[in-house]
């Protein structure tokens, strides 16, 4: 069966994620409502503003749907804002989050927009050379514990983490033409269905 990959489309660069997954063997769909979230076998929380996406999740009951999807064992991948929302701890900030991953994140950790950058990253579990990674007002992970496993670092800062069925990237694989990380996530989804 072709897995349905939900792209959370409340706010952010969901269009780029939809486009990126459209080249792979899956059915990517934009999701904004609780029942739409629950119709998927995997979920991507895109880049955007984490405070905005978090508030919208809470206001419209999408938060509970995501928790339910997670309890069902469906993989969830967060990029940038999505990573912030998956983290248990956000440094110096009490904003709402899903709090599913054993990681602490620092928002805008590399600076403001003028400090945004692109670089080449070696990633554990991704073969065939480094991945071009675009960081935009990006967070990084300051601490991992429990089951969380670091997959990539940039200048000693943790920028990609996996914890069982949860994946988090501080950067935006959806903004380049390389589909290896989408395929990595799709493999996580396919391994459970």
């Amino acid at each position: 069966m072709t897995p349905r990959i939900g792209i959370l489309a409340l706010q952010g660069d969901f269009a780029e994620h939809l486009q990126a997954f459209s080249a792979l063997d899956c059915q990517p769909v934009p999701v904004k409502r609780p029942e739409e979230v629950l119709s998927c076998q995997g979920l991507v929380i895109p880049g955007g503003e984490s405070t905005t996406i978090g508030k919208l999740c809470q206001r419209f009951g999408v938060d509970e749907a995501i928790m339910q999807l997670h309890q069902r064992g469906a993989p969830i991948w967060g990029t940038c804002a999505g990573m912030i929302l998956l983290a248990k701890e956000i440094e110096g900030n009490d904003q709402w989050r899903l709090g599913l991953m054993d990681i602490a994140v620092r928002r805008n950790a590399f600076g403001r927009q003028v400090d945004s950058f692109a670089t080449d990253l070696a990633i554990a579990g991704i073969a065939d050379g480094p991945v071009r990674a675009v960081f935009i007002r990006a967070p990084y992970v300051t601490r991992v514990w429990g089951e969380a496993e670091t997959l990539a670092t940039f200048e000693d800062n943790i920028v990609m983490v996996r914890q069982d069925k949860l994946l988090a990237t501080a950067f935006h694989p959806e903004l380049t033409d390389d589909r290896r990380i989408q395929q990595y996530f799709l493999n996580m989804v396919c391994s459970i269905i």
């Binding site: 489309a9 409340l10 706010q11 952010g12 660069d13 969901f14 269009a15 780029e16 904004k32 880049g47 955007g48 503003e49 405070t51 905005t52 508030k55 919208l56 206001r59 419209f60 940038c80 804002a81 900030n93 904003q95 928002r107 805008n108 403001r112 927009q113 003028v114 400090d115 945004s116 950058f117 692109a118 670089t119 080449d120 675009v134 960081f135 935009i136 007002r137 935006h172 903004l175």
Partner: protein, 295 residues
């Protein structure tokens, strides 16, 4: 290789702001209200467009202390406006670290002939347009985000719809042209040939397109999103209304679920305070229209 502030990171931030509402704010309290309502960014300025219009005088880049206070208060991106062609104001805004610069017709133009050469900057720019050709001229100069101008400070949506429809019709027209027709089309449009060709082939702009100028209600936001806007700028519409906090929430709600009239109705029903009074744009003399600034 690590590269800072590339075209991709500039357009990338614009892409992250999609599906959201960017609110004009003049102080820290308003910025907080915006962020709490779910704004994706705030535009820091000294006076909202309706006040600029009412009070007259020269409208310039905002007081840097206000911008910095707002940057220190909210975690969402902070934008600020420079005057058309005033590259020194833009340099200053970049130096203090704003996340996006709006080279804006809402301020009094500093140059009647030339816009800022935006490729020279590390910070991304947004510029207004009234049609596709104007959008492509600004993108050619380095704008990483386009917004249709509408008529700022009017609370009247008619110019916003006119400009959005003009851009969308322009895209449809270009898509239908053959390669051998594109050079003449670029000449007639007064737009850069390479961009005309790219848009004709891809069928869309190379940067996101948002809507601005006259949005005052949740229904206005839903209208502009359905006409093709990817996000909404609200200037006077929020802080010139009776109850800014509830209106900010309602406009965010309507922008998120713009395609569903039941949701937009819910957003409208939550409003107890009145919308800004506004001005019928048809009653505004040409020389008082901000959309005519820039070319």
């Amino acid at each position: 290789m690590t590269e800072k502030s590339t075209w991709q990171t500039k357009v990338g931030l614009a892409q992250m702001l999609r599906g959201g509402v960017i609110m004009d704010v003049t102080n820290v309290e308003q910025a907080k209200i915006g962020e709490d309502a779910g704004a994706v960014a705030v535009m820091a300025l000294e006076r909202v467009p309706a006040d600029i219009r009412a009070e007259g005088g020269v409208a310039r880049m905002a007081d840097l202390r206000i911008i910095e206070q707002i940057m220190d208060t909210v975690t969402i991106p902070v934008m600020a406006k420079c005057r058309i062609g005033h590259f020194a104001e833009a340099q200053i805004l970049e130096a203090i670290g704003v996340d996006f610069i709006d080279e804006s017709e809402v301020l009094t133009p500093a140059d009647e002939k030339f816009h800022v050469w935006k490729h020279d900057f590390d910070v991304p720019f947004v510029c207004g347009c009234t049609n596709l050709a104007e959008a492509l001229r600004r993108i050619g100069e380095g704008a990483a985000l386009i917004r249709t101008k509408g008529e700022a400070g009017s609370g009247d949506i008619v110019e916003a719809t006119r400009h959005m429809r003009a851009v969308m019709t322009g895209l449809e027209h270009l898509k239908g042209l053959r390669d051998d027709e594109l050079m003449t089309e670029a000449k007639n449009m007064g737009a850069p040939f390479e961009l005309v060709r790219q848009v004709a082939h891809e069928g869309k702009l190379p940067v996101p397109n948002f809507s601005a100028g006259g949005i005052a209600t949740p229904a206005d936001a839903a209208l502009m999103m359905q006409l093709g806007a990817e996000s909404i700028f609200v200037g006077s519409g929020i802080f010139k209304s009776e109850d800014p906090a509830e209106r900010a929430l309602a406009i965010v709600h309507a922008t998120t679920y713009y395609e569903d009239p039941h949701e937009v109705a819910q957003a409208c029903k939550g409003l107890k305070g009145a919308a800004m009074v506004g001005i019928d744009v048809a009653s505004l003399p040409e020389e008082e229209r901000m959309a005519n600034r820039g070319w």
